[in-house]
């Protein structure tokens, strides 16, 4: 079989050579993705491939939840209904007040000839998948570009800001949570109006950066979006300050806070789709 001068046994490369080749391919993938964002097409491909699978794999937990719900006692439901009725009454009074305020606000705005806030559209989305949160905290939603989502839109749940849409695929989208490292949110302290920058610090926590040591801030203060970035509408609750400490080495306070939105718990969220704001003349 073997011709003279031909190697008889070297059919394929050894493991070390193959390892080196694949490492080279891998490193070029990392560079292409991080530096040049060249692999977004591949991401969309995977998303199209996995979307139906994920939809299907949601079924087992849904069935489990159904079965669990079946055994909730009647009494518990009655109690919950009573609590909801009371809450509804309270909310209705709040809505009346808000309508009154909105009317007054439009009048004042016309008086001042200010640009009115752009119309906002809400897109309901449900949590589809949550990945490991070792380097950046992301969740996948079941709505995507076909529902009008764009990269950069804010995502909220009933209690506060969840995060920002960071990647959009045709039928799904990825949201970077507010607690993700390097995710910055411009906020203001609700009590004093002091503006600042909240950064995610991983593991479901946030910190308020660059607060001078004499700032009036204490544990329990709520942080709202300040709206000066033109990304988040003003006034969405973001986090509650949990601890304020002074460090010897830094001129700034160390302000730790906990996000208000149920980042780990929320299954249903809203995406605020605002029309791109016209720049003021």
């Amino acid at each position: 079989m073997a011709m003279p001068g031909q190697l008889m046994f070297a059919r394929r490369l050894g493991p070390t050579a193959r390892l080196l080749i694949w490492l080279l391919v891998g490193v070029s993938c990392v560079v292409a993705d991080v530096r040049y964002h060249a692999l977004d097409g591949l991401r969309s491909g995977f998303s199209l491939l996995l979307q139906p699978v994920r939809e299907a794999m949601r079924a087992p937990t849904d069935i489990a939840a159904e079965l669990g719900g079946f055994f909730i006692r009647h009494r518990l439901l009655q109690k919950e209904r009573d609590a909801l009725l009371i809450e509804r009454a309270q909310l209705l009074t709040g809505v009346n007040a808000a309508q009154e305020l909105a009317r007054e606000n439009t009048e004042l705005r016309t008086l001042l000839q200010l640009q009115s806030r752009p119309g906002q559209q809400l897109v309901h989305a449900a949590l589809l998948y949550q990945g490991h949160d070792w380097f950046a905290q992301r969740i996948t939603l079941d709505q995507g570009g076909s529902a009008g989502l764009r990269s950069g839109l804010p995502v909220v749940d009933a209690s506060g800001l969840v995060g920002q849409v960071s990647r959009v695929y045709p039928g799904s989208s990825e949201v970077t949570l507010v607690s993700s490292p390097k995710q910055l949110t411009p906020v203001m302290v609700e009590r004093t109006g002091q503006r600042g920058l909240a950064a995610g610090s991983g593991q479901g926590r946030m910190e308020l950066r660059y607060m001078p040591a004499q700032t009036d801030i204490r544990a329990g203060d709520r942080l709202l979006t300040s709206g000066i970035d033109r990304v988040y509408p003003a006034g969405i609750p973001v986090a509650r300050v949990s601890r304020v400490s002074r460090s010897q080495s830094s001129p700034y306070l160390r302000v730790e806070s906990l996000p208000l939105a149920g980042l780990e718990r929320s299954r249903a969220v809203l995406v605020l789709v605002a029309e791109p704001q016209a720049t003021a003349p």
Binding site: V34, V53, P181, K182
Partner: protein, 165 residues
């Protein structure tokens, strides 16, 4: 010597790998997510150990890219790590096949650890410093999963395997 020489057909290999991918697609959250073993990695390394001619670097790389997609991580992060894992398993292959399930799992613990450290290193260099050491937990759960699988395979194949192992 080889547990799955006769039985490791393409159908079985693909079936288990698809099952592993499906298991990862379940909506894990909270503690279950933190403790979730890396099903795909365990599957790939298992078949690398028993069918190195069929499943090795290429499959590991592609499945690594898939894992990268689902974690929203940088493309190549898990791919490189899985390839390193495959190399280690091929390197220790003859030795690993000698052991009973418990010792085999114990020997694979450093392999899983090396894979996870590769993930950590690449993520650190490419994206962010990691948030805590929680990412080393799946190493333990993957080892336990390997033990269970090895035990299952041995029971499946009956007593004959016990004599040899």
């Amino acid at each position: 010597m080889n547990v799955a020489t006769e039985t490791g057909s393409w159908r079985r290999i693909l079936g288990t790998l698809i099952l592993a991918v499906l298991l990862e697609q379940l909506p894990w959250s909270g503690w279950a997510l933190a403790l979730r073993p890396d099903f795909v990695l365990v599957g790939v390394l298992f078949w690398t150990l028993h069918q190195p001619a069929r499943i090795s670097f290429g499959a590991a790389f592609v499945l690594g890219l898939l894992t990268d997609f689902q974690d929203g991580a940088v493309f190549g992060q898990h791919a490189i790590a899985y390839v390193v894992g495959v190399y280690l398993v091929l390197f220790f292959r003859m030795r690993l096949l000698q052991f009973d399930p418990f010792r085999q799992a114990a020997q694979l613990f450093p392999v899983f650890l090396a894979v996870q450290l590769a993930v950590l290193l690449i993520g650190w260099l490419a994206v962010n410093p990691p948030a805590g050491l929680a990412m080393l937990v799946p190493v333990l759960s993957s080892t336990v999963l390997w033990y269970l699988i090895a035990l299952f395979v041995r029971l499946w194949h009956g007593k004959g395997m016990q004599d040899r192992a």
